[in-house]
Symmetry: C2
């Protein structure tokens, strides 16, 4: 929560109940959540927050660098907290949709190569795996 307050302050933004609650939901989740997921979990916890506010808050948290946006071939975005978590990637089951973390990243060296080859400046990358979990195989 410390990071949240600092980040908000730095931009003249405010610490509100929805923002705390949304970050809290993300920190408790073991896998990245969609806006609708976050909204559903807030409702379950009796925290009344509009879905629009969830979207706006996820945007703010992303800008502040507190959450990462993840795309897993679903036609929607998911979000996960970055606080206290290493940079990592995911694998998603084509059967049940289960998502697991992959606490690894083989791309440090490759990034330099990509920058040399393309003349782009690399700012970020996404690496996701898709397959079948043991139950769905």
């Amino acid at each position: 929560m410390k990071h949240l307050i600092a980040g908000l302050r730095a931009e003249g933004r405010r610490l509100t109940r929805p923002r705390k609650a949304i970050l809290d939901v993300l920190e408790k989740s073991k896998y990245p959540l969609s806006a609708a997921d976050v909204h559903a979990r807030l409702k379950r916890e009796q925290v009344a927050v509009d879905l629009v506010t969830v979207y706006r808050t996820l945007g703010v948290l992303k800008e502040l660098g507190l959450v990462a946006q993840v795309e897993l071939g679903e036609g929607q975005f998911r979000y996960e907290t970055r606080h206290g978590r290493e940079h990592h990637h995911h694998i998603r089951c084509r059967g049940c949709g289960r998502i697991a973390d992959l606490m690894l990243c083989p791309l440090k060296k490759l990034t330099a190569l990509v920058e040399r080859e393309t003349r782009f400046t690399v700012e970020e990358h996404s690496l996701e795996f898709f397959g079948w979990c043991p139950k769905c195989r």
Copy 2:
């Protein structure tokens, strides 16, 4: 076009003008196209095909394994032909949206590791880079 015919036949599907035209558009493009892109290019070539048909055809071509679906953080899908092209990845500029191919894949070894660690069977992966191209830097 040979592959297309074979693929369609194998499933009791038909070879139609829209399907040929759409595959043709994809084969001519140097970067992956959205459904709307494909539709616009068809119109420019005076080929009258409904956008819905573009979506349905892209779905069929994907099922047949003739095109790959790519997600580049835009909130939409892009498609590119797989015919005669090696498995590869992309980099997209955060300024102008330019997309370049990265004709490389460092993930053969890693896939085996991922399968061992997660007990998933890996079927596919996505690896995309985001950054700034020389003009936008």
